[in-house]
């Protein structure tokens, strides 16, 4: 579903009404708008975490271990979503965790997008052996199940948040390379490219200024989907002990620490996972909306 290889020949910002038209189609999709609202709220929560969080994320309240959420018997309004096994406020940790998840998404997508675009441009523009070598390497990366490859890469680099992000970026990057290559090959022989070449544009200018802006639509959709994928994979690595290390309030890492209490204190497991699900769902809703808004085939409805 994510490998749409057709380049959409829409020129953003070319027509004055392009953005308004795009927003018109996007806003017709209620799910996408809902996703955008939730995502905006998450960004605000992440930015203002120190102001919103009732407690410091790593503060341990030794006399309040495994306090249930406030609406349970024994719950207190001091710890709205309860506390974990060492007495830390779960709500505050979740709020600070939003920072990590969004940061992970941004860093991974930036890295994967930039390297994927460069490789895809080179492969699609020059073809020949450059193309063969680059695309074979991409095939090799894609031959391994993504999480397994990320795990082995993290094992090589050493567990930790930064290495986990790097590994996930490497795993996600071939999708961008393939998309860019396909789009470049579709655009390369169009008249506007040929005329730019005749006008004396160099290869770098042709690749970056002439062709790339016309390949953006599928890349933006893919970037959105990769953003949510990155958050999921980072949480999975954290859960397996190979991502962010305790006491970092990363959501997956929180789940790993909560595993042994699942039957005694279900709330320590419930809320971090819910936070991951809501975030990823919001981003995927946005991604679906973007795809439909970009896709001229569906624009009729």
């Amino acid at each position: 579903m994510s490998n749409q290889t057709t380049a959409v020949p829409s020129k953003p910002a070319a027509r004055p009404g392009a953005l308004a038209e795009f927003w018109h189609y996007f806003s017709m999709n209620h799910g996408a708008v809902l996703g955008l609202v939730v995502f905006a709220l998450l960004v605000l929560v992440a930015i203002f975490a120190p102001l919103i969080a009732p407690h410091a994320p790593n503060e341990q309240y030794r006399d309040a271990l495994l306090t249930p959420p406030m609406w349970w018997a024994n719950g207190t309004s001091n710890f709205i979503l309860g506390t974990d096994a060492v007495g830390r406020d779960i709500l505050s940790r979740l709020i600070f965790g939003a920072r990590y998840s969004l940061f992970i998404g941004v860093v991974v997508v930036t890295f994967a997008l930039v390297s994927g675009i460069i490789l895809g441009l080179l492969a699609g523009f020059f073809r020949g052996w450059v193309d063969t070598v680059i695309m074979r390497v991409m095939d090799i990366i894609l031959a391994f199940p993504s999480l397994l490859l990320a795990l082995v890469l993290v094992a090589i680099l050493g567990p930790g948040l930064f290495n986990a992000m790097l590994a996930i970026a490497v795993v996600l990057q071939p999708h961008f390379a393939r998309l860019t290559r396909a789009a470049v090959m579709a655009e390369k022989n169009r008249e506007y490219v040929v005329s730019a070449r005749v006008a004396g544009a160099g290869n770098i200018r042709l690749m970056l200024v002439t062709i790339l802006p016309n390949c953006l639509a599928p890349l933006i959709v893919q970037a959105t989907m990769s953003f949510s994928n990155a958050i999921l994979e980072a949480a999975a690595l954290g859960f397996l002990g190979m991502g962010a290390q305790p006491p970092t309030p990363e959501w997956g890492t929180m789940l790993a620490a909560a595993r042994e209490f699942i039957l005694r204190a279900p709330w320590v497991v419930t809320f971090p996972g819910l936070a991951i699900l809501i975030t990823v769902l919001a981003i995927n809703l946005i991604g679906d909306g973007l795809r439909d808004a970009f896709d001229p085939k569906l624009k009729r409805s």
Partner: protein, 351 residues
């Protein structure tokens, strides 16, 4: 389409098919070589020393160290080690686990049926629910059923399955006490593994309650592993159906007065099936990645858990050969899907 094949036509089709297969293989060989190189290189880059990992807590004397280095060939040039490894692999020798001292291939083959059983049941579940759900959603486009199904599908697609597994354990094993928390079958059941598939073995054994024990162990992990493929299949089926339902020949069939059931079943679905089959094939990699998490949560003794444990133990040889074997399986399945695709969609063979 639909034309009676002329004599001699079969031969032409067989010839294009053959050329297509040869082309696919020509593409796949460099990738396989690349995979072996990657698996070999990754593992050489892992921090730590294989000999020390093998010796464990006790450590080794310098003389013994040198001797082991010599014996396992770790002191020879790296490319000699690589070719050694490859020639071993070609003869079915995937090395010996540093932790258990048993051949890696043997361990893989004993654990693989557990993963295969889990993945097969998960995939059947995903197909059995996903395809009908996708068809109905497309036919009743815009209805509450469509919106509910697609909402559920996107939620499933966004699911952190390791958390989903924990939730199911809390509810079905904790609150309701219906299902066990881990393993493949109750400890009281003992029988020889004829096939390695617990569902079949428990039936063969004829022991009372063995089969239902196996089912109750399998059901939660299978649901967890099925979640993402199910969501993907439902979404893909819906969009493929929508595309086909708008085509001229479907409208013609409707205009001819065929019943909606015939139009949807015979005309639309048959053609929508092509992208759905591809999607199902592409889920095999997803299943392997999902198996790592699912098997960890449910202590399911399969390949995923084996790989995680081996990475934790720094068991070089297992990680290297496990990576290689898993990648080869995924590639083989993708190749089969490609060929199937060419069989059902004649257009692809020609290009």
């Amino acid at each position: 389409m639909g034309m009676a094949p002329r004599p001699g036509r079969h031969l032409a089709i067989a010839r294009t098919m053959f050329r297509y297969i040869l082309n696919k293989f020509a593409l796949i060989v460099p990738t396989i070589i690349g995979i072996t190189l990657a698996a070999f290189a990754f593992v050489r880059l892992l921090p730590g020393d294989p000999i020390l990992a093998m010796a464990g807590e006790r450590g080794v004397s310098p003389e013994r160290y040198a001797e082991l280095l010599e014996r396992f060939g770790y002191n020879r040039p790296i490319w000699v080690q690589y070719f050694d490894y490859i020639s071993g692999v070609l003869h079915g020798d995937f090395g010996v686990s540093l932790a258990t001292k048993r051949p890696v291939l043997g361990e893989f083959l004993t654990l693989f049926p557990a993963t295969l059983e889990l993945a097969t049941v998960a995939m059947l579940l995903a197909i059995a629910i996903g395809i009908p759900a996708g068809i109905f959603a497309a036919v009743k486009r815009g209805s509450w059923f469509d919106q509910l199904t697609m909402g559920a599908a996107l939620t499933g697609y966004s699911m952190p399955i390791f958390w989903w597994g924990l939730l199911l354990i809390i509810f079905f094993s904790g609150t309701l006490g219906w299902t066990p928390v881990s393993g493949r079958i109750g400890l009281q059941y003992f029988f020889p593994p004829h096939t390695g598939f617990m569902l079949i073995d428990s039936l063969i054994s004829g022991k009372k309650g063995a089969f239902s024990s196996a089912v109750s162990h399998l059901i939660l992990p299978a649901i967890v592993l099925a979640t993402i493929p199910l969501a993907v299949i439902a979404r893909q089926t819906r969009s493929a159906m929508l595309e086909v339902l708008g085509e001229d020949y479907v409208r013609t069939a409707r205009a001819k007065g065929l019943s909606p059931r015939r139009v949807i079943g015979m005309h639309a679905f048959r053609n929508a099936l092509i992208p759905v089959v591809t999607t199902i094939g592409l889920q095999v990699g997803t299943l392997m990645a999902g198996a790592i998490l699912t098997e960890t949560i449910f202590s399911w003794p399969g390949i995923g858990k084996w790989m995680i444990d081996s990475i934790g133990k720094r068991d070089y040889v297992v990680v290297q050969s496990g990576l290689l074997l898993i990648a080869l399986i995924v590639m083989a399945v993708n190749l089969v899907v490609d060929l199937l695709y060419a069989v059902i969609n004649p257009r692809i063979r020609v290009q």
